[in-house]
């Protein structure tokens, strides 16, 4: 077996040193009747070539997004990732290191995390950010629990524009913790009256912008209303690139900002691994979940970085920890940071503008098709259309013609069968958008 360096002779010599006759003596604590005598009912070892063949066959049964005009978003976005990013994250020293528990020999990872935290804080308009969560959905759930701790209240109000998966993650956590959720109905028109639902029991209001339908939301009045009742505003985003064109949640009064960072640096990969972004105000930092890198000096007075404020975490605080999270999304955070370093402010704004231009162009084209209605007034690179036919069947029909058209709302949550969420990033060409519009016109 190519991964196992020990030879039969090595094993024999090592067993002799240990002082046992055979390897099974070392497994003697396993009750005898429970020890596996035979090999497991699985294939035997395979060569590298054979494994490649087997997995390539499975991969070939999927339609890769890059092989088709592609307009699907709804929480995960296809962007161009510079080749430099993937090269750097495959450096052995990043890829095959552990969580930086020994800071003297982990300054690379720690400095990257410090840079990541700073970038996320700047992007969201907040004071501090952590070193990442699993993804945007779990970050939302953690933000809700953090708000409960801060306010000592246990009711969250969820906007109907919040991605249904995110809302379900929050609802699941709340149900098992015995907390209350007041979830608004799915709201394609962004017309809900969230403010009326905030009361003295409310710990937090969770609002997404751009919301799952692509609507840009003004969070300022919601923040003000929440604060007036002693509640917190949790702002959510799923498309990080939108922050290059749109007002930051921090500017609009958010207390905690969480989002999905996949758009920068990370491929779609069928939904994971992604990287959850989590930012808040400095005064709330001790209730923040997740790891934090902080600056300090070493014994020679040189600047260095360490994991800090660890007493919030499970390995010290155990049942009183702010979260049970341990492993997070280090390597995805690295990809995010490298991509954003390459872009810089100018690049990010330009990228965001191209995304917005493509979205506006596509919306214009689709709106001209008889029977199609674009529901959004203000949006970034994603919007929702109402169709005269069920969206799921249309998407399937277009897929057969080689176009990945978007996300039927019914895929995310039952109902709203006639609504389709459509995204257009910088990867889409004029030809792609024309092909989509033509195909949709033909299918209707």
């Amino acid at each position: 077996m190519r991964y196992l360096p020990l030879s039969t002779d090595d094993r024999r010599a090592m067993l002799a040193k240990v002082g046992v006759a055979d390897i099974d003596a070392l497994f003697a604590d396993i009750p005898e009747t429970k020890r596996l005598g035979d090999l497991m009912d699985m294939p035997r070892a395979m060569s590298e070539l054979s494994v490649e063949r087997a997995l390539a066959k499975l991969a070939a049964q999927n339609v890769a997004a890059g092989s088709a005009p592609f307009f699907l978003g709804a929480g995960a976005y296809r962007h161009h990732v510079p080749a430099t990013v993937d090269h750097l994250i495959q450096r052995s020293e990043f890829l095959t290191s552990y969580t930086p528990y020994q800071p003297e020999i982990a300054q690379g990872t720690l400095q990257v995390l410090f840079e990541f935290q700073t970038q996320v804080a700047l992007l969201t308009g907040m004071e501090v950010a952590n070193a990442s969560m699993y993804d945007g959905s779990t970050a939302s759930g953690e933000a809700m629990l953090m708000a409960h701790r801060l306010t000592r209240r246990r009711k969250a109000v969820l906007s109907g524009g919040l991605h249904p998966h995110y809302a379900e993650v929050c609802s699941t956590l709340a149900r098992f913790a015995g907390d209350e959720i007041d979830r608004c109905a799915l709201d394609p028109g962004a017309e809900e009256n969230l403010i009326a639902r905030i009361d003295d029991e409310t710990s937090c209001v969770i609002v997404q912008s751009p919301d799952v339908f692509g609507n840009l939301r003004d969070l300022t009045p919601i923040a003000e209303a929440a604060h007036a009742k002693g509640a917190l505003l949790i702002a959510v985003f799923t498309e990080a690139v939108s922050l290059g064109a749109c007002r930051s949640p921090g500017e609009m009064g958010a207390d905690i900002v969480v989002g999905e960072g996949q758009s920068l640096g990370n491929p779609l990969t069928f939904g994971g691994p992604y990287v959850g972004l989590f930012a808040t105000r400095a005064k709330f930092v001790r209730q923040m979940p997740g790891r934090l890198a902080g600056e300090t000096v070493d014994a020679d007075g040189k600047r260095g970085f360490v994991l800090t404020l660890s007493t919030r975490e499970q390995h010290i605080r155990r049942e009183k920890a702010t979260s049970n999270i341990c492993t997070n999304s280090g390597l995805c955070a690295l990809a995010f940071t490298i991509h954003l370093s390459l872009l810089g402010e100018a690049g990010l704004m330009k990228l965001a503008r191209v995304n917005h231009a493509n979205g506006v162009d596509l919306a214009g084209r689709l709106a001209k098709i008889p029977g199609v209605e674009v529901l959004n007034q203000h949006f970034f690179n994603e919007f929702t259309i109402r169709l005269p036919k069920p969206a799921a069947a249309l998407v399937e029909a277009l897929a057969q013609r080689g176009i990945i058209a978007g996300c039927p709302v019914s895929r995310l949550s039952p109902g709203h069968d006639d609504l389709l969420i459509v995204a257009s990033t910088e990867i889409n060409t004029d030809d792609d958008r024309a092909a989509f519009a033509d195909a949709l016109r033909a299918a209707l």
Binding site: D41, S92, T99, I105, G272, V297, D300, A346
Partner: protein, 513 residues
């Protein structure tokens, strides 16, 4: 005649103070923060200008600057390559972190995960366009159930702790479904990972500690004494955090089940027994599997991981959405949480990128290779233990261990050297330290997990190094330890300062002292 001849042998010089103009030391190059070298108008990405168009951002358009610096492409490469070289990695040396399982990360797995058919697939594509992805999930699920002897598996948890949460939620859901929702106590030994009590707390349960016996194991008797009608589950790591297989595990499972409770097994150490025993045969009801440990999807400096949870027949109905089903010869997804007992752990379908890597690892090893890997991991740990036991002290005596060898600090008593000092001196010798001060039940614990990836020559050099260090302690060479490390990119860092006045982001030179 060539008059450019130069000396090609090193010239002996007196000990030279390595103080340099740049602060660099040869290949060890000091690297500023991105924010100190980047410029807002610089970009390493060329993007075509958007055409003129009427924007639809309304009043939502960003005003003012963000403050993000940019770097050109060559500067980016240099910045991150230089930073990378300040990290230790399994690719550069033995990484004996007990409980963390730092084993070889095959590059085939990286290559497979990057096939466009896996990496460039959206989680919400029509299922007709992702049949291969669903098939991969199904294959891996099948492999995990086969290895563990369990009936079902929830694939979506994103890491071990998330898997624990999922498994404990399934247990709570099952209890509620059978009218036993009042059970709110979780038994856990004091040697448990911190995630166990943290998870229990998240679902509104409280932990009742179970004492481990003098031999480092939990006895069925102690479990029976702690059980009662209020107990929902026991959370037990097996092999446990002391590196021992819980000998009474079957009796413990029986006692737990008799009392109407469930058995959650923390599977962090499953790598020791793959192919040697199946948790399902031992009476486990739920167990997460850290794909990034047992199946070597890389740790990536702290993630991403993946934490699928295998479930017994009693819990199979309580898995979260989404999951893969077969309908008329095609694979499909059940995605809607409405009416489901558990609900949803995360958006989309779990850590697909990690699933590809784990399956690639499992296929490469096969049933024979997986068993051999477990045996080699256990053998390596015992070899290290046997070669050090005369110099260092083990809390549970000279008995065999599983895949990690545990030492305590009683041999350091009154030497002026602590576990921390000893670990830091390993850094100067070119090794990553072992896990220190965990498990909490052992004083000054040093937990060594060499894994199956080390050659005998590598193990021997590691052992000789630790022996040299241990003898150095005996000789009273305290300064070798208390001042260590001296040869790493940084010496010991001031964690008190970092925690007392936290600086968690760059704020500009003006704010700095």
């Amino acid at each position: 005649m060539n008059n450019q001849g130069r000396p090609t042998r090193p010239v002996e010089t007196a000990a030279w103070q390595t103080k340099t103009f740049t602060g660099n030391r040869g290949l060890d190059i000091e690297e500023p923060l991105l924010f100190e070298i980047g410029r807002p108008q610089t970009s390493g990405v060329d993007i075509d200008e958007a055409p003129d168009f009427a924007d639809r951002l309304g009043a939502h358009a960003r005003r003012g600057r963000i403050g993000l610096p940019g770097l050109s492409e060559p500067e980016t490469l240099r910045h991150y390559v230089r930073l990378s070289r300040k990290n230790y990695a399994i690719d550069s040396g033995l990484y004996p972190l007990g409980s963390c399982t730092m084993k070889h990360n095959p590059r085939l797995n990286e290559k497979m995960a990057r096939l466009p058919g896996f990496a460039d697939v959206h989680p919400l594509q029509p299922v007709s366009t992702v049949q291969g992805a669903l098939a991969l999930v199904k294959h891996l699920s099948h492999a995990l159930m086969t290895m563990t002897g369990m009936k079902a598996v929830a694939m979506t948890p994103k890491a071990g702790a998330h898997g624990e949460l999922c498994g404990m939620m399934a247990i709570k859901a099952a209890l509620m479904a059978s009218g036993e929702g009042a059970r709110k106590v979780v038994l856990a030994p004091e040697s448990a990972h911190g995630t166990n009590p943290a998870t229990a707390a998240l679902i509104g349960m409280t932990v009742r500690p179970v004492a481990a016996g003098a031999g480092g194991m939990v006895s069925a008797q102690a479990v029976r004494a702690a059980l009662g009608p209020d107990v929902a589950a026991i959370m037990l790591t097996n092999p446990n955090t002391c590196g021992l297989f819980e000998r009474e595990i079957v009796e413990i499972a029986e006692a737990v089940h008799e009392a109407g409770a469930y058995f959650y097994c923390d599977g962090a150490n499953f790598n020791a027994i793959v192919g040697k025993a199946k948790p399902g045969d031992l009476g486990v009801d739920a167990m997460h599997i850290n794909l990034h440990k047992t199946f070597s999807t890389p740790h990536g400096g702290g993630g991403p991981g993946a934490g699928p949870v295998v479930l017994s027949e009693r819990l199979a109905a309580f898995a979260p959405v989404p999951y893969v089903v077969e309908r008329e010869g095609k694979l499909d997804l059940v995605e809607h949480a409405e009416g489901q007992e558990l609900g949803r752990m995360s958006a989309f379908h779990g850590q697909m990128g990690m699933f590809v890597r784990a399956l690639s690892f499992i296929l490469s090893h096969g049933a024979d290779g997986l068993r051999q890997a477990s045996e080699d991991a256990v053998l390596a740990a015992n070899y290290v233990r046997a070669c050090l036991i005369d110099l260092m002290s083990a809390p549970f005596g000279d008995r065999p261990c599983m895949h990690e060898a545990l030492f305590d600090d009683s041999w350091l008593k009154d030497t002026g050297v602590t576990t921390l000092d000893f670990a830091k001196a390993m850094i100067d010798e070119g090794y990553h330290p072992m896990t220190m001060y965990f498990p909490l039940v052992v004083h000054g614990a040093m937990l060594i997990e060499p894994t199956e990836s080390e050659s005998k020559a590598s193990l021997d050099l590691f052992i000789m190094t630790l022996r040299d260090l241990a003898m150095s302690v005996q000789r009273g060479e305290v300064e070798r330890f208390t001042g260590a490390p001296r040869l790493a990119p940084r010496r010991r860092l001031d964690e008190t300062r970092a925690a007392r006045a936290p600086v968690l982001r760059w704020t500009g030179a003006a704010d700095r002292t």
